[in-house]
């Protein structure tokens, strides 16, 4: 497997220089791999993972998960509607699901009103949308692999042991 892709899959936060050292490549080779992965649309881009419960990071702190039921259309299934919903800036992620509803949409906004407004004015009025069910997120315990307030005891490892 592409060694750079492997490090990306592991979620490593290494710089390109550090990736080069770990994978035994030059920094230029790592850059090349990254460019190729972008070209192949495997690697889409970098994003920081923030703890949004912190005041300082809470610029768009209201998040909601919305279950959306859709009437699929002949010839296109769910794709055209899903694409239309996914293009809104408020939508962070959008998935087609099995089970009781069709799309699961993760939405972000700076206030409850803004998120509610997006759902009532934009999302639910889209052609084909039968119903929505909105769940506001109250508290985050784990964000994309990072535990919040984990209190892990890693730092108590002694510096020198047999």
């Amino acid at each position: 497997m592409n060694p750079v892709l492997k490090l990306l899959i592991e979620g490593s936060s290494l710089t390109t220089g550090q990736m080069a050292a770990v994978a035994g490549l030059t920094e230029a080779e790592v850059q090349q791999h990254l460019e190729q992965l972008k070209k192949d649309k495997i690697f889409l881009g970098w994003r920081p993972v923030l703890d949004l419960s912190h005041e300082a990071a809470a610029a768009a702190a209201v998040r909601a998960v919305i279950e959306v039921k859709i009437t699929p259309e002949r010839g296109g299934g769910f794709n055209r509607f899903a694409d239309r919903i996914a293009r809104f800036d408020e939508v962070e992620s959008c998935y087609l699901m099995s089970g009781g509803y069709d799309l699961l949409v993760f939405v972000k906004g700076s206030s409850l009103q803004k998120v509610a407004g997006f759902v009532s004015e934009k999302l639910s009025t889209i052609e084909g949308v039968l119903s929505t069910s909105t769940h506001f997120m109250l508290r985050c315990y784990k964000e994309q692999g990072f535990l919040l307030d984990a209190g892990e005891a890693q730092s108590v490892r002694l510096n020198v042991t047999p």
Binding site: L14, Q18, A21, E152, R157, L158, N159, V160, T161
Partner: protein
């Protein structure tokens, strides 16, 4: 409360047993004190002997569940039968040796206790025990504490620190009773090929040696498959196989290991165990059972990480000019630092004081570690990269 003040005429040392008084403290301890003095100074430690991973959560959670269910009692001296069954299955599948859970396996408080039990159960005062060196700090003291006599067999960088039958034969003395093995080895990462082990096994049969094989790092073998000497023809009946959960499952603080061997030998170890330790902690035993049943994904992930870290650190040491063999197992690199123009002790102390990187002088693991330091790569990529850059600055500062 009045502080304790010894009477001026009394010397508390008079109460010490002679063999304990004569036993030197571990060289690791001295170095630990030195590093401890530098607290808060951005020291990168490559001086540890344990994983940087925390025990996988499902294992910790199983221990919590065991506590919630009130599992707070003693277990059988030999350990929980479910755990011994799981150990028997694991050892058979991974090492190709079959042991009966009922009487050929004992669960111990880490491999360290198993080692101590074996020495106390098998060594009569004055009897000789062979061990390869550089080696883990406890081997020789365990022999001395049972009034045995240790015979160090050197391993060499030219052999990638594998033990050879030739070195064994050269060091052998009449009256030698037992041989201790630790492959892959702490601190060298040395291992033996199957062919090398076959020659060692032949020698052990020829000299009628009992073998104590500590294979705690076997799951961290990066190339080829690990072979246990216990699996070779004619060896299971003269071998005590020691293993534990500390390294592969990142469970050092749980203190849980085990010994497998012929029933009469395990029974003798059990006698010492029941009068001293009684049993290993039930919580640790429950956690160990979970580790064997569902922990393999975590082991494989951690091994892959160690593998890449090894490649990184070994490549960097060699680039810097410190000759370093690529250890086939364990998470230790053991570079030769004589090219820096310093002894291993001066190198370790200088590196710590000038560049704030802690490594352990090879002589802490016996005189055959002269000229080497042990650098543990059970730490993050970022730390290894930064530590190696600092080592490079340190080495170049003398040029």
């Amino acid at each position: 409360m009045r502080p304790y003040r010894p009477a001026p005429t009394m010397n508390p040392n008079q109460f010490l047993a002679r063999h304990v008084a004569a036993l030197p403290k571990s060289g690791i301890r001295d170095f630990f004190e030195l590093v401890a003095k530098m607290k808060g100074q951005d020291v990168i430690s490559l001086g540890v002997g344990e994983p940087d991973f925390v025990t996988p959560w499902h294992i910790r959670e199983a221990a919590i569940f065991a506590l919630e269910r009130g599992k707070t009692y003693y277990t059988s001296n030999l350990g929980l039968i479910e755990l011994r069954r799981a150990i028997a299955t694991y050892v058979e599948q991974h090492f190709n040796v079959g042991y009966r859970p009922e009487d050929q396996i004992i669960v111990t408080v880490g491999v360290s206790e198993a080692l101590d039990l074996a020495c106390r159960a098998f060594v009569n005062p004055g009897e000789k025990v062979m061990f390869h060196q550089p080696c883990y700090v406890s081997y020789h003291p365990s022999i001395v504490l049972t009034h045995g006599e240790g015979i160090a067999v050197p391993t060499y960088a030219k052999d990638n620190f594998a033990l050879t039958a030739e070195a064994l034969r050269a060091a052998w003395q009449p009256g030698a009773k037992m041989l201790m093995l630790n492959l892959p080895c702490n601190p060298t990462g040395g291992t033996c090929t199957r062919e090398q082990l076959e020659k060692i096994a032949k020698f052990c049969i020829e000299k009628d040696l009992l073998v104590l094989t500590d294979e705690i790092y076997s799951e961290l073998t990066f190339e080829g498959t690990h072979t246990s000497i216990a699996s070779l023809p004619g060896m299971a009946e003269r071998t005590i196989f020691l293993h534990g959960f500390s390294k592969a499952f990142a469970m050092t603080g749980w203190r849980i290991g085990y010994a497998c061997g012929p029933a009469p030998l395990i029974d003798a170890m059990m006698k010492v165990h029941q009068y001293s330790m009684l049993c290993a902690s039930i919580i640790a035993q429950e956690a160990a059972l979970e580790a064997l049943q569902r922990g393999w994904d975590s082991v494989l992930k951690m091994r892959e990480q160690y593998h890449r870290r090894r490649d990184l650190i070994v490549r960097r040491f060699n680039e810097i000019g410190l000759t370093c063999h690529s250890p086939r197992g364990s998470f230790y690199a053991f570079p030769n630092v004589t090219a820096s123009g310093r002894t291993e002790k001066d190198f370790a102390v200088g590196l710590l004081q000038q560049q704030k990187v802690a490594v352990v002088p090879g002589t802490a693991f016996g005189e055959n570690g002269t000229g080497h330091v042990r650098a543990c790569f059970a730490t993050s990529y970022e730390q290894i990269i930064e530590a190696c850059d600092r080592v490079e600055r340190f080495v170049n500062s003398r040029k």
